[in-house]
């Protein structure tokens, strides 16, 4: 299917057509920042955004999710037996997601959807969701997607890619799901040569603005223990306050906790985002803690993204260069600097 085009003025009609058939999630301005939320009116979707502060991982892996529910009523024969909590898996469109964040879902898939075990909620949401991406014409100063194999116009994780060409949007349909979604909309026209050239120009200037900020490949070759025992971790961890902002915002930080909550004689088993930055994360019942030191926890986060994950899944780094952790770290720890240290080869004098 060749690319199609719609003028800016007609685009709200497309959103309306989607809303008639799907639950539509889009970037919505809430306070100072955008976040992905279900829209009720077409004008709520704000595609003029740069990126959301919080990654859209919550669309598939909610911050807090009810897994099971149960009765604790005495004499109830079903008391204490867990039942699946009802959830809405009706078809859904995520509109305006950035290519890096869509790519992140693919990196997370290898964790949630394995040959041995499938996380049923992640997998079903992935199956029933269509991702309509929006290319980045103006990446942020903290972005480094092109250094990790993705990019501002990357189509890898998307079903449809939109490009904002100023007077309208072009759409590149990438998958069958994308075809189905675009198929229910109308008003598109073919892409004119001028628009096509403009789109190419936008892509080139966006990619050029990012450049290649580091070379990740040397880390793959290095020995896990050599990196683990490197002395630079002491400097990397020095300023860290273990606040967990990085893991909270990161699109590829999926770690979660499972807890039971009881309300009177009813209970829920819920899962909640957790963070390797917190000492309790690994605290044994015996009192022993394999990562009791801050250095160990900071090292764990970077080693997981940049060494453990690549070694385990041969799927590149568990990082898409969205730059959220760089932008929002209160003590300016910069993962790009950590990658440079991890990939540096020391040439010692003979």
């Amino acid at each position: 299917m060749s690319d199609i085009y719609i003028s800016r003025g007609k685009f709200p009609e497309i959103i309306g057509q989607l809303m008639a058939r799907y639950r539509v999630y889009a970037p919505v301005l809430k306070g100072e920042y955008h976040e992905f939320a279900k829209i009720e009116k077409t004008e709520e979707a704000d595609l003029g955004y740069q990126n959301t502060r919080l990654s859209p991982k919550g669309l598939f892996h909610p911050h807090a999710e009810r897994m099971f529910e149960y009765s604790l009523v005495k004499d109830d024969p079903q008391a204490g037996i867990l039942k699946e909590a009802p959830k809405d898996f009706s078809p859904r469109v995520v509109l305006g997601i950035r290519p890096c964040d869509a790519k992140a879902f693919q990196l997370d898939d290898v964790n949630f959807d394995t040959t041995a075990y499938q996380d049923p909620w992640w997998v079903r949401r992935r199956q029933t969701t269509t991702l309509i991406g929006l290319a980045c014409n103006e990446p942020c100063g903290t972005c480094f997607c092109t250094s990790l194999g993705t990019g501002p116009f990357d189509t890898a994780g998307l079903d449809v890619l939109l490009v904002d060409t100023g007077e309208g949007y072009t759409a590149q349909v990438l998958t069958q799901k994308g075809k189905d979604v675009v198929g229910i909309t109308s008003g598109w026209e073919s892409v004119s040569r001028t628009v096509s050239e403009k789109m190419e120009g936008l892509r080139k200037s966006a990619e050029d603005s990012l450049g290649r900020q580091f070379d990740f490949d040397p880390i793959k070759q290095k020995d896990m223990l050599e990196l683990f025992n490197a002395s630079f971790w002491d400097e990397v961890q020095f300023a860290c306050i273990n606040c967990g902002t990085c893991t909270f915002l990161c699109p590829t930080c999926w770690c979660f906790d499972i807890q039971d909550e009881v309300w009177g004689d009813k209970g829920d088993r819920i899962r909640l985002w957790d963070s390797c930055m917190f000492p309790l994360f690994t605290f044994h019942g015996s009192g022993h803690n394999p990562r009791s030191q801050k250095l160990q926890r900071v090292r764990q986060r970077f080693m997981h993204k940049l060494k453990y994950y690549p070694d385990k899944y041969h799927n590149g780094a568990a990082c898409v260069g969205c730059g959220r952790c760089v932008k929002f770290c209160p003590v300016n720890i910069d993962i790009r600097e950590v990658v440079r240290r991890m990939s540096a080869t020391c040439v010692c004098p003979a």
Partner: protein, 280 residues
């Protein structure tokens, strides 16, 4: 889609207090739905998540052998919220079990080999499973000599005392039970720490594997003894503990380097561990 987070409902069939400090109890569990028992096919060395509605889940080694049918057993140390509650539960109460989880002792590789089992304290549960499994008439001929060194601080802290006494009587297993110390004049077994007793009994490393589970201090001092006896790192097997939640390699907390203890472990050879960060 099968939901790997959903526990099978089970009924507590019996509760036995194992140790004189009353901190360890063995729970015998029976599946409410017979088809769940069919699905719960396990190997010695695996673990399961015990689930109590309203409190949570705990990862515990399976103490029974797959050769024992109709029930599963777990020996649980009283440590935190879930285990304290479990210790107060009684026969007939309903709870949940999720599993079997993790890998197991390498039974294919152990076939035709002598097996040396070294255990300390309450880390004897999956070792009990392994011994019962190997001693089963259908399996005994698959293995060579079986030697067991099992120690606790005092006689009252040993697990499965009746079974230990019964194994002592058998000709097809070499039992070396030991305690750190005792004032019991009738104590007829060894006195001494596990590393020292292992050194003294000196099981041959020839055509042998060693499986070692116990407190870190015991492991630390027994490993050099095994090395001295000639056991290479790829024939020393251990099972690790780690804080866990999902038990299926998804929630992300129990990793040692690139490996998840819950899914890629808990059983590792010393050789495998030597290539991973020392963070456990």
């Amino acid at each position: 889609m099968n939901n790997p987070y959903l526990p099978y409902p089970v009924r507590i069939d019996s509760v036995v207090t194992e140790t004189e400090d009353r901190n360890l109890k063995t729970f015998k569990l029976v599946f409410l739905n017979p088809e769940d028992e069919q699905k719960f096919k396990y190997n010695p060395g695996q673990f399961a998540e015990l689930s109590i509605a309203g409190l949570g889940e705990i990862p515990i080694g399976i103490a029974t052998s797959p050769t024992e049918k109709g029930f599963i057993k777990f020996t649980v140390n009283k440590v935190g919220k879930v285990t304290n509650h479990l210790h107060n539960m009684k026969e007939g109460d309903i709870m949940g079990v999720r599993g079997p989880l993790g890998n197991w002792y390498p039974w294919d590789a152990l076939e035709g080999k002598n097996v040396v089992i070294i255990g300390g304290g309450f880390a004897f549960t999956t070792l009990r499973s392994s011994i019962v499994y190997m001693l089963d008439p259908a399996n005994r001929s698959r293995f060579g000599d079986i030697t067991v060194v099992y120690g606790a601080r005092s006689p009252g802290l040993l697990l499965y005392k009746d079974e230990l006494a019964a194994w002592e009587q058998r000709k097809d297993i070499n039992m070396h039970i030991t305690v750190d110390g005792t004032d019991d004049p009738n104590w007829k077994y060894n006195v001494g720490f596990v590393p020292a007793v292992t050194k003294q009994k000196a099981p041959s490393a020839e055509n042998s594997y060693a499986i070692i589970c116990g407190p870190p201090i015991m492991i630390k001092f027994t490993l050099p003894v095994l090395t001295e006896l000639g056991f290479p790192p790829e024939r020393i097997i251990s099972s690790l503990e780690m804080r866990m939640k999902c038990g299926i390699g998804i929630c992300g907390r129990c990793n040692i380097g690139s490996e998840y203890v819950c899914k890629d472990g808990p059983v590792f050879t010393l050789e495998q561990l030597s290539k991973l960060p020392n963070e456990y």
